[in-house]
Subunit: 127 residues, 2 copies
DNA sequence: CTACATGCAAATGCTTTGCAACCTA
DNA sequence: TAGGTTGCAAAGCATTTGCATGTAG
């Protein structure tokens, strides 16, 4: 547990915005001005691998990270990329519907809502 | 409607494997040896923008393309990246559950199952 | 004829990796 | 002190873009 890793965990826990690696980098650098991006990526990968945090594989080009490792759904703004938790309970029965209907061994599922966040909704109205 | 665009549409319709841009490139090049990757990307973007095909924003690093522009779900092999259609009907009521519960203007949702394809399941067993 | 499309190559953006120095347990 | 970790920089991979040329309508 290095200072870098500890700080990464801390900034994640202080941020509900599901930051990207770059955003984590900026936040950590406020406290440890010499961290490198490589260290950020390595630790985010390591922490999500060990289940302490969650790597979000959602639409768009960049990955985001969630301090909450529990399964839950998200909603993403298609315009600005903002991501929030979706207030809906996990659908536990969903995978049952696929048993016998697919040739795959099912591991899990991800559900992502897309929409416009308040700020972008407002802009869209005025256009 | 150039020969390039026509051929891209044709190879997509002959392929149920949800190919990546690179795979489309390889398939088109069998018929038009001089196509460029840039043309592939430009046309895939254009065709999905006009609703003739569908761009899949699913987990993993690369985008895949689907000749079928209708909403449907997919299942992806976490080991080899193979993607198939998931035999489950779209959940039309899902977004209703979020109305009033989120600050977003909801546009839609994507649901992706993950698992192991038959080939990768077999390998996993023998490990 | 004119606007759009193409091929080529360079550029971009995000992420990963090699390596020598450094630090933690 | 032994092994993991860091900073730095270069490399990697998918995708996008600028530009001169070519082609469809």
């Amino acid at each position: 547990m290095t200072p870098q890793r500890k700080t990464i965990l801390e900034v994640l826990h202080q941020d509900n915005a599901h930051p990207s690696a770059d955003e984590v980098y900026a936040l950590v650098r406020e406290r440890l001005p010499n961290v490198s991006l490589g260290t950020i990526y390595r630790n985010l990968e390591l922490l999500s691998g060990s289940g302490e945090i969650q790597k979000l594989e959602i639409g768009g080009t960049i990955k985001r990270y969630d301090w909450n490792p529990k399964k839950h759904y998200h909603i993403r703004c298609t315009r600005c990329g903002r991501v929030d938790d979706a207030p809906i309970a996990p659908l536990k029965q969903l995978e049952n519907e696929l048993y016998g209907a697919t040739i795959y061994t099912i591991i899990g599922h991800t559900l992502e809502f897309v929409g416009l966040c308040p700020a972008c909704s407002k802009q869209a109205d005025s256009v």
